[in-house]
Symmetry: C2
Subunit: 372 residues, 2 copies
């Protein structure tokens, strides 16, 4: 069984490391000079527009999957034209690559989102600000991640500046949800339609980048978990989805409001490598290859801290009790995720102590990751 | 950090899979046509006598380690002559490659073994049989593993046949220990001299091949664990050892009798990948690269079943609740280990039920792996 993976970043690397024990083989496609999978798997290095390279990549591959949602849809169509099977299906990319389509899709399934308005012109932006009020967030409809392609409009002056600078890029204005917490649910649907969901995770972001995840989310109750799972199931079934899909949520006044969908394995699920009966990576591979899904249960309590920029020395991280270190083989750069550390514990108190120690080592202030 | 590994079998494969998350890179050396690491890491394919190939292998490597104990000592000397650093140290190979030296070494540390006698001639064998009695096991001093190079002498006729057939290969005759159980302890010593030991594992063999391991061994008591750890510490310190070392034991009348030493990660420690706070593979890598050792504690209770010969379909194995499947990328062949499955559980009763199911699927009779 050979899997083709579009994208060779850290998510691809962790997919391969989960697949090797199952006897799977991997081939990656990525145009970048250096990528995280280079040490561990063969890669076709070419542009997504290079149809010959795509054909070479797809030759002999049993199934093609992807590790980032901004895969050019034309490349996928070229692969499908050559008989390659893509899972998760193309429609999931169509929906998730466009913030407007995504929100309309969610609302159509009865899943709440922040209020929003499409913005295609300076006048449209003025009108959207008038409707939604301030603060609000102006986002490009396409190609944003980790806080890129976004601007927060807090004041009338911010709004006027954004209106004056608006360059016609198809965009969306979103009302700000005054959330109590950010959560995410990772769900998997098998080729046979079976669905399993991991426990809700609580997430802390800084500068638009995920810094800390923790599960089971300390005060999530069973009803909120059930709500998240019910919504995830509706999304998966509406897309006839196969593989892992993540929904990020705001919790507002005790209810879940969907922020966005990621049709892939997700940073907030890295704890599942050691912390769940089956990792998100293995379950994605099981799904797209038609194997039965594995159990998603958490074993103990877990926290995950991203290493962003220049990480502490490996010696320091390895000396932390109960820490599982994951480096991605990337050169350090400002705001770049170069690895993560997962902490395991049998109770919350012990986890709190270990997490405080890790956050100190990583240089993150503890105030914003205290238990809610 | 680049590690050179002599041997590219499944133990090497699992070392690499444990090292990638730590940001380590690997280069293997193995003369075989196809080896388990070929999909996942670069390999130098050459004979151990090929000094140029060894030099190419060692070039730019930070440390050289090995995944099997029958590494030709001359190859190691050639590597060391070129400045390569070998860990575990050469003396560990010297001791463990020769069954006579090994037993003398253990006895010299006050660690009990089966009674034994060196055998170098037909007359010597006759005299050894007279001294030790029957049954006894005739083993070559070198190059035996998984029951190869061994003959059990049960009767006078067996002994006479062996005496007549004796070809002068340096050998050892061992008295048979009428053991109640077979156990093993996996111990690790860091570059700084720190030692950690995993819980004793109970092992079941068939035709000389390990079939099932289980931990924590159901009726091992704290004293026996302490005895095993004390012995392991003496062995590690006597060899100024760095890395993972395994001691296999017989339990006889409530006491531990050493069977053999393996200066490497071990099949009976595969459960540690999912079952311990730090796996044997990661701890070996931590040791030989000078990182602090990780915790060896078991999380829950665990069993491991080897897949020998033609394995059941992956679909079947993946459908077993709580099963972690590890395939080595090997073509099936009689008596060949092609993978293993680890089962996790929170209590013995649940583990018993899951293990019975797995053994049925694998086609192993359950009688000889019942709880002792």
């Amino acid at each position: 069984m050979i899997l083709g993976v579009l994208g060779g970043g850290q998510l691809g690397r962790m997919l391969a490391l989960a697949g090797y024990p199952l006897g799977m083989r991997f081939r990656f496609f990525d145009p970048a000079d250096e990528v995280c999978v280079d040490d561990i798997a063969p890669r076709v290095r070419a542009a997504y527009e290079d149809v010959d390279a795509l054909a070479q990549f797809a030759d002999g591959v049993d199934v093609v999957t992807y590790e980032f949602e901004n895969v050019p849809v034309d490349a996928v169509r070229a692969l499908e034209a050559r008989g390659a099977r893509l899972l998760p299906p193309l429609v999931a990319l169509d929906v998730s690559q466009d913030r407007l389509t995504e929100k309309q899709f969610l609302n159509g399934l009865g899943i709440a989102t922040a209020p929003f308005a499409a913005v295609d012109s300076a006048e449209g932006l003025r009108s959207a600000v008038a409707t939604l009020g301030l603060p609000a967030i102006l986002k490009t409809r396409r190609m944003g991640y980790d806080g890129k392609g976004q601007a927060v409009l807090r004041s009338d002056a911010d709004a006027e500046a954004a209106i004056a600078a608006f360059d016609g890029t198809p965009s969306i204005l979103e009302g700000v949800v005054p959330f109590a917490r950010e959560l995410s649910v990772i769900a998997v649907r098998g080729l046979d339609g079976a669905v399993v969901c991991y426990p809700l995770v609580q997430n802390w972001h800084h500068d638009g980048i995920l810094r800390v995840s923790r599960t089971p989310s300390p005060v999530v109750n069973a009803l909120m978990q059930a709500d998240a799972e019910y919504a995830a199931r509706r999304v998966l079934e509406a897309l006839d989805y196969v593989g892992v899909l993540t929904i990020e949520w705001f919790e507002h006044e005790g209810r879940l409001v969907a922020n966005e969908i990621a049709p892939r394995v997700h940073n907030s699920g890295h704890w599942t490598i050691e912390g769940a009966a089956t990792s998100q990576f293995e379950n994605h591979l099981r799904a797209v290859t038609g194997l039965p899904l594995g159990l998603p249960q958490a074993l103990g309590v877990w926290a995950m801290v991203n290493l962003v920029g220049t990480p502490p020395p490996l010696e320091t991280l390895a000396s932390l009790s109960g820490a599982h270190v994951h480096m991605y083989g990337k050169a350090p750069r400002t705001s770049r995720k170069v690895g993560h550390v997962t902490l395991c514990a049998v109770d919350e108190g012990y986890l709190d102590a270990r997490l405080a120690e890790l956050l100190h080592v990583v240089g993150i202030e503890t105030g914003n990751t205290a238990r809610a």
